[in-house]
């Protein structure tokens, strides 16, 4: 069969189209496109069916495992038009996460160990390090080490890659906030809270981190290793009451850190992180509700908190 590959403004991406066997899959098509165009490796390709004129429905994305025949119109199995979009240079999620987490892991201890504050106008003469500051450093580093380890050993990603531009954007976010919080918690003029308060804060935070880890293990088991990336109804543990229990535990974990360290910078970070995760959670909740609508034998998505009981 012949596949005509066009860009969104109608131009032919591969002149003369591509000839493929009838039993070919989308993956075969992607590899052929790569071979013919050299620079568009498969993860950079976004292949969709042409949108119906006048319709505002989202275009149908070709799934790599499916056969090309599945997308052909009835009776027209020898010809298929596919719309191509270049997603730009891609980076694996593992790479993205590794670099964005590496920053905070390295930057925070710099503020703790090195005499950096003299560059901000504070003579480094008698700097007493409070116990809570030491524990805060351990807590922070534990958190980001955990994240890196989870990236390599726990998480199963639905998309293998992310655009390269996200590396700069995400690193800017994580590294800047990391430095911002680290600056204040390790400041020579830092005022610690009472011992009971920071002990409770760290204990609560650690508990949430463990819970968060368990959530990630559960999420991992929802996806098969072959990377099908399909959606399932999460269940077990906190997922029975909250859709995005992993985000919930993450947010509460930062709350624990802030109760212990009490800086405006830390709370700002908490608020920003919470709003970002809440945004994601709403999207995920909506997607799951739409997918599991109880029709056609699909299970109905149960009523649950979206992300932050008891508020939302």
């Amino acid at each position: 069969m012949k596949v005509t590959l066009v860009s969104r403004n109608g131009r032919e991406v591969v002149k003369g189209g591509i000839e493929l066997d009838e039993s070919a899959t989308v993956k075969d098509l992607q590899e052929t496109i790569h071979a013919r165009t050299k620079k568009y490796y498969p993860s950079r390709q976004r292949l969709t069916l042409p949108a119906k004129p006048g319709g505002s429905a989202k275009p149908i994305v070709l799934s790599p495992k499916s056969k090309l025949l599945d997308y052909c119109e009835k009776g027209k199995s020898d010809n298929l038009t596919v719309v191509f979009k270049d997603l730009g240079p891609q980076v694996s999620y593992r790479t993205l996460f590794f670099f964005e987490y590496l920053g905070p892991l390295v930057i925070y201890p710099l503020f703790y160990y090195l005499p950096l504050y003299k560059y901000f106008g504070y003579a480094d003469t008698d700097r007493t390090i409070h116990q809570v500051q030491t524990y805060a450093m351990y807590y922070w580093c534990l958190h980001y080490s955990k994240r890196i380890l989870e990236t390599f050993f726990v998480h199963r990603f639905s998309h293998a890659t992310s655009p390269l531009s996200n590396v700069f954007r995400n690193c800017l976010y994580y590294w800047t906030f990391g430095a911002y919080v680290a600056y204040y918690v390790n400041h020579p003029l830092y005022t610690p809270v009472g011992e009971t308060q920071w002990k409770i804060g760290f204990a609560f935070g650690l508990l949430c981190q463990v819970a968060n880890f368990y959530c990630h293990i559960i999420l991992r088991s929802l996806r098969s290793p072959s990377g099908n990336g399909g959606y399932q109804i999460p269940k077990g543990f906190l997922f029975n009451i909250v859709t995005c229990a992993n985000y919930t535990t993450e947010i509460y974990q930062w709350l624990g850190f802030n109760i212990a360290t009490q800086t405006v910078a830390g709370y700002v970070f908490l608020v920003v992180a919470t709003s970002i995760m809440t945004n994601w959670a709403m999207g995920k909740h909506r997607r799951l509700r739409k997918l599991f609508d109880g029709k056609e034998g699909r299970p109905k998505y149960p009523r649950r908190w979206v992300i932050l009981p008891p508020f939302f």
Binding site: Y184, H187, L189, Y190, Q262, V264, A265
Partner: protein, 203 residues
């Protein structure tokens, strides 16, 4: 119910835009008057009140964007407004503001705007953005030693909340934001111009 809500929204936006328009018009008139009668040094004192009002009203605009009252993306309006909150500059801003607010005022109140106003709105930035940005950056840069010495708007540690704000460092940070911010804003406006003026041709 939805109909009433959208009418209220339009009335509110119409009043808001015309009010801020008259504020900026005042700024311009006072500024030119003071310039004529007394010279540049007197300009700030003459325009201070309406200017502060108009600038603060601009914060409302960010909120409008955030709550979805208007369609401008927050990433475009926030740096725009933020930069002007930082440095207020009477004449340079009253021009585009007068254009902009009368544009929106007419749109909300009457449902349309004259095409020459549309053209003005999407063309004056071509010159005023570079001059405006240069003057803002220049002013901040010149002011830096004074900011450092005066210690104004500074909140120091130690305190219970382990918080500090240093106007001097914040200013340096702002200068840094101009580096990616200016091309982003300019290209955004170029894109908007293309869209808006092509719509004009279609009509």
């Amino acid at each position: 119910m939805a109909g009433i809500l959208s009418t209220v929204k339009r009335i509110y936006l119409a009043i808001y835009n015309w009010a801020v328009f008259s504020g900026w018009l005042q700024v311009l008139i006072f500024a030119i008057k003071a310039l004529n009668e007394s010279g540049p040094a007197a300009v700030y004192d003459a325009v201070e009140k309406p200017l502060q009002l108009a600038q603060t009203a601009a914060i409302l605009e960010i909120i409008h964007g955030l709550i979805g009252l208007v369609r401008s993306p927050v990433s475009a309006t926030l740096p725009q407004i933020g930069s002007r909150l930082f440095v207020t500059w009477g004449i340079l801003y009253s021009f585009p503001e007068i254009i902009r607010y009368s544009f929106f005022g007419m749109k909300e109140a009457l449902g349309f705007t004259p095409s020459w106003l549309l053209w003005l709105r999407y063309s004056t930035f071509l010159l005023l953005y570079p001059t405006g940005i240069t003057s803002e950056v220049g002013l901040i840069y010149i002011a830096l030693p004074y900011i450092k010495a005066s210690e104004k708007y500074c909140f120091r540690m130690p305190n219970k909340w382990n918080f500090s704000f240093d106007y001097y460092f914040a200013s340096i940070g702002v200068l840094g934001i101009y580096v990616p911010g200016s091309p982003h804003m300019y290209t955004y406006m170029l894109g908007q111009r293309k869209k808006a003026l092509s719509k004009l041709k279609v009509e």
